[in-house]
Each structure stands twice: as C-alpha cells, then as structure tokens.
Amino acid sequence: MIPGPFEYHRPGSVDEALALLARHGEDGRVIAGGHSLVPMMKLRLAAPAHLIDLRNLAELRGIREADGSLEIGAMTTQHEVIESELLQALCPILRETALMIADPQVRYCGTLGGNVANGDPGNDMPAVMQCLGASYLVRNASGQREIPARDFYEGAYFTALGEDEILTAVRIPRPPEGQGQAYEKMKRKVGDYATAAAAVALSLDGGTCSQAAIALTNLGQTPIFAEAASQALVGSSLDEAAVAEAVRLAREAADPVEDLRGPADFKRHAAGVMVQRAVARARERASA
C-alpha cells in the first residue's frame, strides 16, 4: 500500500504554513500526527499533491489555563492529553476519552487538533468537545476566528474549516467546580472506533441536576449534540423517569447507518445504553 506522490513541506511558523496552504489551495493538505491521513493516503482515498507538516510549529503546542478556559494546542498528542495533570484535575473526561482511542502507538502520534479537524464521525473527541461547549480557534492568512464545536461538523469529512485554514487550538470553558463527566464507548475490540459512544457532563445543586450536556459519537454523519436529551435531565433529580426520557430523546437524535459494527436499530439501542451508563457515572462523580 503505497500512497500517491506528493511534495513535502515542513514550515517553521504558522504564517509560513498558512502561506503554503493559500498558495496550493485544494492541492494542499496539512499533516499533524498522520494517523488518520496516512491510512487514507495509503488507500488513495486522499491524494494531496502538497503535504504541509505541522510538526515543527511550537505555536500549536502546549496546554494552558487562561481567562476561565482551558486552551489546548492543536498539536498536543493524545498521549500528552493522558499525561497532563492539569487536564486530569480540571477536565478528566479528556483523559478518559483519550485512553479509549486506538492503542498506545497511535496515541503517541495522533493529535487532539487532528482528531477534531478530521471530520470522521468515528473520532471520539468531537462529541466530547460538543458536550463541553468547546470551540476551535482557526486561522488563515488574513485572521483568526473561533468556531463552536456544536456548529463545526457538516457531514462526514465536511466541516466548517476552510481549505486555507489551520486549527490552532481547542478552547474549553473551564468546567464548573463539582461537575461530573463521563465518556462511555462500546467497541468490538481495543483500537476500534465506537459502535456507539456517549459523552455526558452534569452538575448537581443539592439533589437537583442544574446543568447537563449529552453528545454522541459515530451515531450519524457527524457527532451529535443531543440538546433535547440534555434538557430532559435539567431540573430533575436524575430519577429513573428523567434518565429514561433522556435515553429516549438521545435515541431519537441518533441517526446511525448499518455497517460491519451492526444494524442501525442495534446501534440506536446501544446509544441509549451508553447514555444511561454515562449519566450514572457522571452522577457518581459529581459533587452536590
């Protein structure tokens, strides 16, 4: 499996990378960890004439806490997410999710930016970002904009990212003190993409759920922010009836297609089970 030929560029700054992207238009493609792109190039599902390697761009690295949010550089690897004590303390769902992605070798290479920019509905981080209300900082030669993760995904491999733009960082509002988070992923084996997965974040005020967000992975052409399901939990005591209603609404929001991981009805069923489990675990982890 040999990829098609291409010219290789290794810019030394984001500006240089953006100039290369502007020059090569749709023939140019950035490569981060390469663990989605290289497999696609081997299958000739992608054949960029110009490959622009982001590896030397220090501007795209680092994990910071500033102005009430966490900012994670696009080139931060999944391994670095797992190792980050700051993220574990402030937003533990990121580590939990990263540990469910692929295997150690893939996680040393694969980046957070690549995972969320890729647009494959099987990627796990996009739903987590939707659940957390995160946004993506993107830049082209003429400036920067910020796109909410909930508005970013348009279809399988179609996103709001322009072909002259680079995603520079992910910005996550600092989760409120005491928020409980959980990511539940059903897969056939280690290293597999989700058959169905759900990200849940919720807060409790006394015995009452004061905030909740639910998002789904690999249950449609894009990650799905299950807004109605989320709202079904708010104001409840997370009693059986409220959770059952959230599960029902999440199943309604899911739009899976049949593939080797199973028929659509099965996946829709599994989606509900993942939501139920993730709500239960997020609740255990939340402090009232």
């Binding site: 098609g4 291409f6 290789y8 390469g34 081997k42 490959l51 150690p104 070798q105 290293g191």
Partner: protein, 164 residues
C-alpha cells in the same frame, strides 16, 4: 516526484539518504537500510509488527513517512541487545518464558515493551496488557508474552535494587 534528503540516527548510527517523500518509514528501514527486524504485518496501522522507538515514543513505522522522522533517534529490535551481544532483559524474558512461537510479532512486541518498561518500570499484568494492546500476536495467546515482560521488569528492578 523529486527525492529529498532525510537524516536520522538509527540504532546509534547516523544515516542520510535521498528519498521520495511518500516512502514510509518501514520501507526506508527495511529496503534502504536493510534493517529487517521491524516487520510488515497488516500495513493498515493495526498489528504493531512494524513498531519502532522514535524519539522516546513507540510508533507504527508503516504509518509514518520517512521524511517525518527527519532528525529523529530511532531504535529497532536490532538495537535492543547490549553492545557485546548480551540479550536485553526483555529478549531474555521472551526466550525464558516462551513468549513467542512463529516470532513474527516479536520485534514489535519487544520494542514496544521496552518503552512501556521505561515509562512504567513495575507494571501490573493488566497494565502490561493495555500497554501492548497495539501489538497483535496470532500464536501465543498473549499469556507468555505478559510473563516475558513481567520477567524482564523483575530482572531490571532487581538489578536496580542491587545497584543501590
């Protein structure tokens, strides 16, 4: 497509070659350098037979272009034994505990386990299994591979304690 120069250090030796940018690291190692320890198994980033150590990370060399390894320090199974040819603790463990049958997965297993033990010198059996979850073996059923890594960890830790 024109070739470009790439430089890296492989098992301690500096190498420099002209390569097509699309050349995968596994093919660079095997075909340009004659380093055939890392194997081509699945070619689809799943089996881990092609695992090498690259700047302190275990990577599947079938999923990296050689040009992406510019300037890197690479260690393959050929670089695991001591300079005098004595087997490393892991190599010895795989031999003593019968951690291989056909041996096809072994270079990747040992190279990955090497990094695992550097990061976590005293892993539980469960941590060994998760740590090797990117490496498939079609023969052993993994039981003896876990034992082999345990053997190596115990041997390395005993040596460290003796030195203290």
């Amino acid at each position: 497509m024109s070739k470009i120069p790439v430089k890296m250090t492989v098992n301690g030796a500096a190498v420099e070659e002209l390569v097509e940018p699309r050349l995968l690291l596994i093919h660079f190692l095997r075909e340009k350098l004659g380093i055939t320890g890392p194997h081509v198994g699945c070619e689809t980033s799943h089996c881990g037979a092609c695992t090498v150590d690259l700047d302190g990370k275990s990577v599947k060399s079938c999923t990296v272009f050689a040009v992406q390894a510019e300037g890197a320090q690479i260690t393959t199974i050929e670089g695991m034994a001591e300079a005098d040819g004595t087997l490393s603790a892991l190599q010895e463990g795989f031999m003593q505990e019968h951690g291989l049958q056909c041996g096809f997965c072994t270079p990747g297993m040992i190279t990955r386990a090497h990094r695992l033990l550097l990061e976590n010198p005293n892993p539980t059996d469960e941590e060994i299994r998760w740590g090797l979850s990117g490496n498939l073996c079609r023969c052993t059923g993994y039981q003896n591979i876990v034992k082999a890594v345990r053997y190596a960890a115990d041997k390395i830790n005993a040596g460290r304690e003796a030195a203290e």
